[in-house]
């Protein structure tokens, strides 16, 4: 019997005060709308909440008489659900949701990005050691490495600055790195935080 009455008739019946019409509409489209929401949010509870909010909007709009039968009922409800899904993702972006587990550590979420004092000290030490190692390189290799790594210059700029071809600058950079590795291995230097 339910499927013999079309949506627009049920909507008109509901607006006229027939609460049973809403029940039929909800039950008729429940699975389709909830599955649509779930396919986007992939969370059962969130899908249920959005479904509920969707129909609260539907109920309010219909009761206020603001519904215009321009399109069909289901696409209209789907559009409301779609907008609420977007709101859901916007809200989650501002306030990310984390689900606690046994191995969940709150400091992995709220932790400061900056290194702590110990790590900062280690980093400063590494920078200082590295600086001394670079000083050990031949002048031409050291200049290229400093311009590339510390001054962030392109190889084209380096070649213009030093008066050599790009290939020569690339070669010097390559040898600078090879020689740095050799010095590090030879002296058993550890340049790492871990």
């Amino acid at each position: 019997m339910e499927h013999q009455t079309d949506d627009s008739t049920l909507v008109q019946d509901y607006i006229s005060g027939d609460e049973r019409a809403l029940e039929i509409l909800i039950n008729r489209h429940n699975q389709r709308i909830t599955s649509f929401i779930y396919s986007k949010v992939l969370d059962r509870d969130a899908a249920e909440d959005i479904f509920q909010d969707t129909f609260i909007k539907v109920i309010k709009t219909l009761k206020k008489g603001n519904y215009s039968e321009e399109g069909k009922f289901l696409p209209w409800v789907m559009r409301i659900a779609h907008n609420l899904i977007i709101d859901y993702f916007r809200k989650n972006k501002r306030m990310p949701k984390f689900e606690g587990g046994d191995d969940f550590n709150i400091f992995s979420v709220i932790g400061d990005e900056k290194p702590n004092v110990e790590k900062q000290l280690i980093k400063d030490q590494i920078d200082s050691d590295l600086s001394m190692l670079i000083d050990e390189l031949p002048d031409d290799q050291r200049d290229v490495l400093i311009m590339r790594i510390y001054k962030d210059m392109s190889f084209k700029e380096i070649s213009e600055c030093t008066g050599v071809s790009i290939n020569t600058a690339l070669g010097r950079m390559r040898y600078a790195l090879i020689n740095l590795r050799k010095i590090i291995q030879k002296n058993n230097i550890v340049l790492t935080n871990y």
Binding site: E19, L22, E23, I26, N27, N30, Q31, I33, T34, S35, Y38, S39, L42, R44, A47, E48, F51, Q52, F55, I56, I59, K60, K63, K64
Partner: protein, 47 residues
């Protein structure tokens, strides 16, 4: 070719809102009263 298919079948799952949610909506609908007066619209929840 197999890369064209989604590895997740979860997205195709058919789910429905619970009976509790449907009941809540029906009760909400029954309790909601809209009053229009002098160009203003008032929502009353007669719960």
């Amino acid at each position: 070719m197999d890369q064209l298919y989604t590895p997740s079948t979860e997205k195709c799952e058919l789910v429905s809102a619970s009976k509790g949610t449907v009941k809540f909506l029906l009760d909400y609908s029954k309790s909601l009263s809209i009053v229009k007066a002098e160009g203003m619209v008032f929502e009353n929840n007669l719960n």
